[in-house]
Amino acid sequence: MINDKDSQKIVDYIQNFSRKHSLFVMAYGTGCGAIEIPATMTSRYDAERFGIRGAATPRQADVLLITGYLATKTLKRVIRVYEQMQEPKYVIGFGSCTINGGMYYDSYNTINALEQYIPVDVYINGCMPRPESVISGFIKLQELIQQGKADNGKRYRENLEWYRANQKKIIKNWKMPDYNW
């Protein structure tokens, strides 16, 4: 008879394995990076072989893919989508813009660092990152998941106040429902 801890370990392993191999992507095509997604998904690069497939609604999605620069106007929607996703959930920042604003670093209406507003698991560098790097980013995420290090939702919950404060700096007319899921 295996003890609880061991069985928990096995369960965790199975769960993580299946999570890793079944990534439903909510591709939030905010910027120009969205153009790379079809290429990634279709015949040539075929992300589905890793279990990556698109999800139509945040309810079903595991991964939020922010493809490129994020306008301040869009941030509200992204936050909303992110909050509606169900844990465990992961965020991939796609392209330089999500890291430091990229070529929009001094734009008045573009946020620079995505991480200030929602926790990010994996960044994919490049402007644009090619499908290969996108897939390598996903594989990195899979590794994190397998190791149990991808705790995006937990981080957000625990540091909610900080994130909220940052978000509210950008979003002036805050009329969002409270984070309760």
Partner: protein, 314 residues
Amino acid sequence: MEDLGLKIFGAILTTIMAFAVGMTYGGIVRKLTARVQNRFGPPFYQNFLDLVKLQSKKTNVAHGFMGHTAPVWIMVASITVLMFIPILNGNLWFPNLSFHGDLIFILYMMVFGSLGMALGAGQTGNPNSAIGVTRGLSMMVGFEIPFVLALVALMVQYHTTSIQDLMQIQHESGTWLIFSNPFAFLAALFASLGMFRYSPFDIVGAPAELASGPMSEFGGKYLGTMMSGGSIFAFIKLTLYVDLFLGGAGNPDHTGIWATLAGIGVLLIKTFTLYMVPVFYGWVSPRYRTEQAIRYFWGWPTALGIIGLIWAVY
């Protein structure tokens, strides 16, 4: 009471088998689709992985009682129908309750799940869900017509409304009903296109347009349970078609363990072959709008069904 225990065991076994086969078929279809699209595709067990992942979601969102029970209705419908469909002809292991319900009952029970899910989807309050539901229900009115025509043709031709009897007749006569009434089969086959909701009849959940339609508010365990129910349901539909038209599987004269396994093998082959029809059709078809889909079903399939019925009567 030993008998009862055996029956319960058989029932659970049937369910598990239906689930497994349904899920695997789904995976295989995904794989095949990928191959057809010149992709590598996910592994055939991908659906299981998805399911485990969905069930292992830590948080879930429920929209009230009907939303909460929506997957339950699907499971109820699937398992109930499954129990009333003879898996193997005359086999001791899988008789389930097939003597206690007939085709009419199954016809009605098959919509039970859809309605339940529609109610659940309705309660979520997502307009996409409602739109998807109306499309789905409207389309159901479309494909039920040729389907029922085909079934009535069978019932009339063989003077029975029991699936078991139909299988027995095919077994005894040695001819499959597909040959004795090809029109009815064709009508039913066309109807099956709509039932499986592959392209071109996938407007119900059109992902890009409706955000997966009725399911758009369901995630996690709800979606997972729905998926399992749906998989069982796919198996049910296939088995029903095989039982009705393709002679069924299994041999009532040999019910040993090997014969049973052989029967299951035959069943798998037949169902898989049948399954490929809507899948193939889907690969080469774009999407119909709802009214086009309905008109499609009310066109040739219905005509074929009527011919089949006339064929059966005279």
